[in-house]
Symmetry: C2
Subunit: 514 residues, 2 copies
């Protein structure tokens, strides 16, 4: 790793206003649009979204894009949407309009492209589907022709068949409830749904993004352009991609190598089996190649391949917290529940890590205040202790033990254990649970700082109430901000840390610990 922050993300890079961090890359302007027009914007309310306007317009309004730039819905049948004047065509919108989002049917796109050229826009995002991904030779040819026309006019195209741009520092978003706050992770994805899964899923665990691009068919802007951009982007520290097919293989591999050399880079490849490849072909028109070749290319380029979406999420959390700095395989497992700890220990070992026995001195130190019946102090540690001071002392002793390289422990161990809280009104119970969660996250963060041993919090709980869920999200965000990773379960944490250890041993010439 050329740069390694001690965890959390750097919010100082949250740029709004005139100063744009730029690496002079030709794609830079598409991430800083002065004025956006949404063609085919509708005034339909989003279902289940708290009365939000649906589609791209709603997402832009949610991040308040119109506070700093012109936001122009285009729809000849409507005069106004959510207080924004609605225009009958792109040509009638005020200047400047740098970026155009097309929600119109494919047959209208040729006319829209003529208008984009006339208007002098910089980029066109084609949400519109029904081109090359259909496999229909006429539509494949039409897509190529339209993209050529745009390219000749100096307009970059994103898509077709994609969700486009997420740039929180510029208040640009393509899905409801994406964070308004910027971060240090760059996302490129051929799939809009998977981009949404990555951004929404990871944001619940505290991760924030520098930029996200869902690029669909990749008719113009392709993975290799985006990897190239991300490698030099000063806002980006970690890069994550979801790919279905590789376009222009040589260029892709070279860009992946440059990017992975500059920054930790994780790629999830869809279409690795015949069934998935056929799905990818009809989804983004991608011809998925052999996964063995892709795996080898990732390895040679120094990138990591995630095998599943969960694994991708976990790797990004690991790479952006203190968990990335784990230097060995020794896990101190401090949890409740003997049988759970047995299964967790098995899973940790399956992931190539270990739950080593404790030295005699550590056992004696723990036995000073942990009773014998129903407890274990020889790792896994199962103390049955609930008081904060005993918990802190236990974690501190375990973190300091010689064979321990990382401590796994339950988040929210004492969450909401005060029966008086149950009597409070719902909103107050939520507030109490969230505050309590933040305090517990800070306890772990303090211990991580104090002991120098990375801590990992496990959030899985039998309690699926919304209060518990909100508390878990508050916990994850508070912990992440201070560089502490949270995972659903010990097996997932172990697997992710094991992968990072392997990757670092290849990349940094560390001894292979497995």
């Amino acid at each position: 790793m050329t740069e390694r922050s001690t965890g959390g993300h750097d919010t100082s890079a949250n740029m709004t206003g005139p100063t744009i961090p730029s690496n002079g890359h030709s794609l830079e302007p598409i991430f800083h649009p002065r004025g956006i027009a949404v063609i085919g914007a509708s005034s339909t309310k989003n279902a289940g979204g708290g009365g939000m306007i649906s589609g791209f317009l709603g997402s832009l309004i949610e991040l308040d894009y119109q506070a700093e730039h012109g936001l122009y819905p285009v729809n000849p049948k409507v005069d106004e949407i959510e207080g924004l004047r609605c225009y009958p065509s792109l040509l009638e919108t005020p200047d400047p309009v740098d970026h155009v989002i097309s929600q119109v049917p494919a047959k209208i796109v040729p006319m829209l492209i003529d208008q984009c050229i006339e208007k002098g826009v910089r980029s066109l995002h084609l949400f519109t589907a029904g081109f090359a991904e259909t496999g229909d030779p006429d539509l494949v040819a039409q897509e190529a022709e339209l993209i050529k026309k745009l390219t000749d006019a100096g307009i970059r195209a994103i898509g077709p068949n994609c969700m486009g741009l997420y740039v929180p520092s510029e208040r640009v978003s393509f899905m409801n409830s994406f964070p308004a706050e910027s971060g240090n992770v760059f996302l490129l994805s051929q799939s809009g749904a998977n981009a949404g899964d990555i951004i929404q899923g990871l944001s619940k665990r505290g991760v924030r993004f520098s930029k996200g691009v869902s690029f669909g068919n990749g008719a113009d802007v392709k993975a290799h352009h985006l990897l190239d951009y991300a490698a030099g982007d000063p806002e980006t520290e970690v890069v994550v991609g979801y790919m279905e097919g590789v376009q222009e293989g040589r260029l892709f591999f070279d860009a992946l190598k440059r990017c992975a050399h500059a920054k930790p880079t994780v790629i999830l490849k869809g279409g690795i089996h015949a069934a998935g490849a056929r799905a990818a072909n009809s989804h983004t028109g991608s011809l998925a190649g052999s996964i063995q070749i892709f795996e080898a290319a990732c390895r040679q380029a120094g990138a990591m391949r995630a095998e599943t979406m969960d694994e991708l999420h976990d790797l990004i959390v690991t790479l952006t917290t203190g968990a990335k700095d784990v230097t060995g395989t020794g896990v101190g497992l401090v949890t409740g529940g003997g049988g759970n700890a047995v299964l967790a220990s098995d899973a940790i070992a399956t992931a190539g890590l270990d739950v080593p026995p404790m030295p005699r001195a550590t056992i004696d130190e723990l036995r000073e205040f942990i009773p014998i019946a129903g407890t274990s102090v020889n790792n896994p540690i199962d103390t049955n202790l609930r008081g904060e001071e005993d918990r802190r002392r236990t974690l501190q002793i375990v973190a300091g033990a010689d064979p321990i390289d990382v401590v796994f422990t339950n988040a929210l161990d004492s969450h909401n254990r005060d029966p008086k809280i149950d009597a409070l009104p719902r909103e107050q119970r939520i507030e109490h649970a969230e505050n309590n969660a933040r305090n517990e996250a800070n306890l772990l963060a303090d211990l991580q700082t104090e002991t120098g041993t990375p801590f990992v919090a496990l959030t899985r709980s039998r309690d699926t109430s919304d209060i518990a869920t909100k508390a878990a999200i508050a916990y994850a965000n508070a912990a992440y901000r201070r560089g502490v990773a949270t995972f659903d379960s010990a097996p997932r944490a172990a697997r992710s840390i094991g992968q990072i250890l392997k990757w670092r041993s290849r990349r940094e010439g560390l001894p292979n610990l497995f």
Copy 2:
């Protein structure tokens, strides 16, 4: 399978009152206690449990055990707990007391055992820990001596170091929020926490239990006794076990073989790696053997081995619904979101199933009402259609296609999509979401009945609000009652069904489809 219901569980076996289904097994009486005394019962309220009394007494009160039999808290310091008279010692409780639960420290147990003998009880459940599992030779010897004393007096012991009995038909429970309703799954577990995970986790997916036994150290009642009992229990159709160590290996293997011959039997083994084995040893004093030997024993006995807790949950859902009757590997995948479908297809293929292309006739039939842009009808099916009638028609056509053996589709596809609902008060929104969920579950159940093709519902959702969680639980319960399995995700469904197909091919001489 000697018996195979078409799905759901048979609630007619819910026996309360005098008629006890009995196989004449010597363990039968412990499942029908007339009178329970809880020694060391406390009046402490449970944290986070809505003011419930903590411990075993609270769980028994929750299922209203005292409505039919005597429930006697024993604690010399308290006069009354929750309206129940509290007794200073076991000897002062009224007759009959068949079952005694010990929550007292280990040093008091010898005296309690003398009292149990004097009182003439049938069974003693030792929640009390601090015996053989500590590894201390004196405590190991003491455990053996105490158990011998009980055995000589004709009293069965459960434990020590365990949670004991769950018999919903007799209103006996050991943890809060276990279902009051009986079902057809028998659980044996060396771990109380894992027993809780299995019962609570599976009950959210609709599964109900005939009996559950957490037996800890297994000093008297052991896995082989319980397997033997379950094999002949008329209330039990499927058997599931969590084991750490095998006691009396030959007897265990013979009992497993008899049980698996009579009923589908799933075992999860903890302590398969050195780290887990060490944890198991300090947890229940178990000496974990080689997992290869255990795996071979399961296979030879005709039982299934679950590798993780999630896998165990999924196998039990599969075995008790129409999903167990899948006859081939062809999955029809009807979901939204192209990129998700690509990853799901890959995972289905990884599990040994397939997402086969659709025959020309099926494609034509679907294309009659599914537009081209942004959709796919060649499996995975991604229709973007939301109306119930189009959804029904799509699912029906896919289920009827020749290469399709099972249909996977999203639960709650149109959940809460009416924006008018958002304006309602919280309780009404919950009610609406739950009713909607039940209707959608019935749609799938109707289609399963009508087409004869098993359906599987996928519940994973980005929406983690409590309304969505409640709706998902309502969906799972309604679907399960009618024999439709729900899984978190396509990969988990595929893995579980793949395992069942393999197991059946071994067990029933079906052709091996892999």
